[in-house]
């Protein structure tokens, strides 16, 4: 694990990413390709999801194959409240965070007693349960999904109908979570999580009740995933069970690995690459997954540190030489 230098390759790259994303709307507007704002709003939403997964996966070593469930819970919180005419964004997002956190608490409480393949399977199983639950409840659309009439309302000054406004809201959340995440993983709490990933047995012997810290991390990650889901609901104005399909959890995992696990900013790259590849490839052929699949296999086999890993090696080398 690279040390937390204040000024490092990672810091520079992170700064660059934030600047590029901040300038994207005016830049694309000037270039006449303003539709990119929508695409990158979506990318940033998944970047938030991937970032939240990175906290428990990259730093905590908890391989959760059910993270998409929290996106779904967050999205449906917005959708269901909107269904009943509640458009207040603070309320919707509040419920999204609370609901995801509570579900994460329950899932984590049961799953974190296990490890390895069992943990992977049980998180997958819980995500499946929630997926099937959402399919079966016809009141909220069931398999067909639920339309949302209005965006979340955050005071009358913020109009999420405007693509740029939505973009900057998502951007703000991403930057906030990135900065909060960095503080979290460097804090005492973060050290416990990282120590437990490194050597759980020693952590217990040294005096840490590892389970409760892992559970807290799991809840935090779940709540962040819920926020991503709530933002997604705002972008699509539509929620459906397909958000929570297990293949979606796999895709978020892919983003974390593609970008670089255990770096927080890596998952942002991962989200960009994955979604750009998906869009680009599906323009070329409807069968883009036939290419995406092998790419993932190759990345896992030969480029395990992901894009960020490659980038930061280059950066470190050029600074040395």
């Amino acid at each position: 694990m690279p040390p937390d230098n204040p000024v490092s390759a990672r810091g520079l790259i992170t700064f660059a990413v934030i600047v590029v994303l901040a300038l994207l709307p005016p830049a694309t507007a000037a270039l006449g390709i303003g539709f990119y704002v929508d695409i990158f709003t979506r990318i940033m939403i998944f970047a938030i999801a991937a970032l939240s997964l990175d906290i428990i996966l990259g730093y905590g070593g908890m391989v959760s194959f059910g993270h998409a469930a929290f996106l779904g819970i967050g999205a449906y919180s917005v959708g269901i409240l909107a269904f009943y005419g509640v458009d207040n964004g603070f309320l919707q997002f509040g419920v999204a965070i609370l609901a995801s956190a509570v579900v994460a608490l329950f899932i984590g409480f049961v799953s974190l007693r296990t490890s390895g393949i069992y943990f992977i399977m049980i998180t997958l199983a819980f995500a499946q349960m929630i997926y099937f639950l959402s399919i079966s409840i016809n009141t909220y659309g069931g398999d067909n999904g639920l339309n949302i009439d209005r965006h979340s309302e955050f005071t009358r000054f913020i109009d999420l109908n405007d693509a740029n406004t939505l973009y900057y809201l998502v951007f703000a959340v991403l930057v906030l979570f990135l900065l909060l995440g960095r503080r979290l993983v460097a804090s005492r709490f973060g050290m416990v999580i990282r120590g437990a990933k490194s050597n759980e047995r020693r952590m217990e012997a040294v005096g840490f009740p590892v389970l409760r810290y892992r559970l807290a991390a799991f809840v935090i990650a779940g709540a962040m995933g819920g926020v991503a889901g709530a933002l997604l609901a705002n972008q699509d104005l539509f929620v459906s069970p397909s958000i929570m399909q297990w293949t979606r959890s796999g895709e978020i995992l892919m983003m974390v690995i593609l970008g670089g696990m255990g770096t927080l900013v890596g998952p942002i790259f991962g989200a960009v690459v994955f979604l750009v590849l998906e869009t680009a490839l599906s323009d070329v052929t409807g069968h883009w997954q036939a290419i995406m699949g092998p790419i993932l296999v190759l990345v896992v086999l030969f480029a395990r540190d992901g894009i960020f890993g490659l980038l930061s090696h280059r950066c470190a080398e050029s600074r040395r030489g």
Partner: protein
């Protein structure tokens, strides 16, 4: 509730159970011996189903279709083992999960490229198309009975193979202490390939038998795969006996749940509520069962004794 209906559904549950067993057996062997999580196991099931259905459509021969199905599944399995899995044995589970997830995407898309996106039609062979009277007044599809018979036969054969043959002894030794096996001079590489091929063949067999009952389409493997994982987790990873017991349990509970939960709930709540709650609860049932088992027995019902 009609007792004959209950009997029919119970048999359906057993039939589903033996199919899950065929999937789970390969999965648990591969995981138990090679410590490899293979999410693409469902793809062998799918390949078996497609190869058999396509062959049957062109030749009309069930025998040819069966051979093609199992052959294709085993062939794909071996190819993947040599090309990809040999590099994955030494990696951690996360890497295996991700890499095999990539394989799933690839295989699903390949069958769409070759056979299109619409489902392939697989028919029950003529000699099994009828019904059998298992009890007076209780007809049951012959094909499903045949599946049960084949499944039980395979289970018996596996039991003999693992318990009574030299290969089986190597398999059990490998499951208990893989490093030691290599140190004893056993060609572990070939053993791995054999075991992997066997697992893939079993999955393909399950797939080709499932074709006429379930739809043959891309992604068909994943639903069964997840259930198969639930089975091996409940049964105890690495244990064939555990896989057998758990598979029958899961198949039975899932089928009976889907058939009878909604009517049962309708007796205590409104029809509308039961319409929502019934299917929801039914699909969640096995996962709840798995969670319960893991809570009390974190390593499954029959965990093999390993170092």
């Amino acid at each position: 509730m009609d007792p004959l209906l209950v009997l029919a559904q119970a048999l359906n549950g057993i039939q589903f159970g033996v199919m899950l067993f065929l999937m789970a057996a390969g999965l648990t062997l591969v995981f138990g011996i090679m410590n490899l999580i293979n999410l693409a196991h469902g793809s062998f099931y799918m390949v078996g189903a497609y190869a058999a259905a396509a062959t049957f459509q062109t030749t009309g021969s069930f025998l040819a279709a069966s051979i093609a199905g199992i052959g294709a599944g085993a062939a794909v399995g071996l190819a993947v083992e040599i090309a990809v899995f040999r590099r994955l044995y030494a990696r951690d589970h996360l890497d295996q999960v991700l890499a095999t997830f990539g394989l799933i995407l690839f295989f699903n898309e390949m069958v769409r490229i070759i056979w299109g996106s619409t489902a392939l039609y697989a028919t029950v062979p003529a000699f099994l198309a009828g019904q059998v009277e298992i009890l007076p007044g209780a007809p049951y599809p012959a094909y499903r009975l045949a599946i049960i018979a084949v499944g039980l036969a395979v289970a018996a054969l596996l039991y003999l193979l693992v318990g009574k043959t030299r290969l089986g002894m190597l398999i059990r030794a490998g499951a208990a202490d893989r490093v030691m096996l290599g140190a004893l001079g056993v060609n572990v590489k070939i053993l791995y390939t054999l075991v992997f091929g066997l697992g893939a063949a079993l999955a393909a067999l399950a797939g080709l038998m499932a074709g006429p009952i379930f739809t043959v389409e891309a992604g068909m493997g994943e639903n069964v795969l997840i259930l198969a994982f639930v089975v091996i987790v409940i049964g105890g990873i690495g244990s064939i006996r555990g896989a057998f017991v758990a598979a029958l349990l899961v198949g039975f509970v899932d089928t009976m749940g889907r058939a009878f939960l909604r009517p049962l709930l309708a007796t205590v709540m409104t029809n509308a509520a039961a319409d929502n709650a019934g299917p929801a609860l039914a699909s969640m049932l096995i996962y709840l069962m798995m969670a319960a088992v893991l809570f009390f027995r974190p390593r499954g019902l029959f965990p093999p004794r390993t170092r």
